[in-house]
Amino acid sequence: MGASDYELVQSASAGDENAFEELVGRYKNLVYSVILRMVTDAEDANDLAQEVFIKVYRNLDKYSPEFKFSTWVMRIATNTVIDFRRKKKQAFVSIEDMETELPDIATPENTYLETEEKGILQKAINQLPDMYKLPIVMYHLEGMSYQEISSSLGVSMSKIKNRIFRGRKLLKDMIIKQKEGDGIGL
């Protein structure tokens, strides 16, 4: 069995670069995946994910083992991605804007989302404000628990639950509006 995350953190803090490289290897896919789902551009996601690990390295001495290392890394990742989106002014899109930005898709059947239409859900998620988008991505696409999301974002679990419920409702309304716009009924 390999060294624990905390052992690697301690070695990396003492100057062992191989230890830090191993930590990067352990969490690169999680970090990159969440960031890519938030920003959608692969190049931006790569740059941001690298920036996250550089921040992690610079702040290794601030890591406390009372949190899981993955949770701490995710907190840095989510803050980085929120800053990035804020700078790009993507964060606050009104629901009215979302409707017009959703793609026109011809729906053959009366089911809401067919396999070939999965872009609808992805696009709708992309249009959610960050406060709903992040928990939705982490819960539904990354399979994280409410507890893990709560620790990563530094927000209480009840708030996270509310945001996910609210996010789902927003998504549902967007999809219904989109379908009604296409002239598709039940």
């Binding site: 670069e17 830090f20 490289e21 990067v24 290897g25 690169k28 896919n29 970090v31 990159y32 995946s33 890519l36 789902r37 692969a42 790569n46 994910a49 690298q50 690990f53 550089i54 390295y57 089911t111 809401y112 989302l113 396999t115 999965k118 859900l121 992805q122 539904h140 696409l141 990354e142 399979g143 419920f165 789902r168 409702k169 998504l171 549902k172 999809i175 219904i176 039940l186």
Partner: protein, 188 residues
């Protein structure tokens, strides 16, 4: 069951936390409520689609670790070349040398220089002011010296001691900065 409660049960359904009893109650409700039925279909479809999206494995690009480590190493290396502090040290050094040399020349030949400049009306006013200020400060310093040492030390002596002290301090600062600057650049 009202629609609000039905929506709560739908959320429980999406969290895989709904009980059989709750599921049958929800079924009963959506059979008779078109709005909730529509909502349930969408939620159910969203759940299935999110599972498909989540199953797509996203991996970081090749060479990710190496890129991160290269950036970290680049950050650690000392930055050679002119930094702001280098420039400040250089300016300190030049200013000090210029002042040191010029003040030495001026103080040795102060009277001759002032006599020469006094011939020009442009400088005459300034030189008068300098002489008046110098005389005044000499009086004050002499008074201070009288009080402290019972006129043992002359005003000139105090002035020259102060000038020497300031000069030594400036020289020490200058030397320190020069050593730091030289050590940093010789390491190249």
């Amino acid at each position: 069951m009202d629609c609000k409660y039905a929506e709560k049960l739908m959320m429980k359904y999406m969290d895989s936390e709904i009980t059989e009893k709750e599921a049958s109650a929800l079924n009963e409700h959506i059979a008779g409520c078109e709005k909730c039925r529509q909502a349930f279909y969408v939620y159910d479809a969203m759940l299935r689609e999110s599972e498909i999206i989540a199953a797509e494995e996203i991996t970081a690009p090749d060479g990710f670790e190496q890129a991160v480590m290269a950036k970290i190493k680049a950050e650690k290396k000392p930055v050679y070349g002119y930094s702001t502090s280098d420039r400040i040290r250089e300016v300190c050094l030049c200013v000090f040398i210029a002042l040191f040399v010029s003040s030495g020349v001026i103080s040795r030949n102060a009277e001759a220089i002032m006599a020469k400049l006094y011939q020009y009306p442009v400088f005459r006013g300034y030189i008068d002011k300098v002489i008046a200020f110098s005389a005044k400060s000499n009086i004050y310093i002499q008074q201070a010296a009288d009080i402290i040492n019972g006129a043992v030390i002359s005003a000139d002596r105090i002035l020259s001691s102060m000038a020497l002290l300031i000069g030594v301090c400036l020289l020490a600062v200058c030397l320190l900065q020069a050593v730091v600057y030289a050590r940093k650049n010789w390491r190249r």
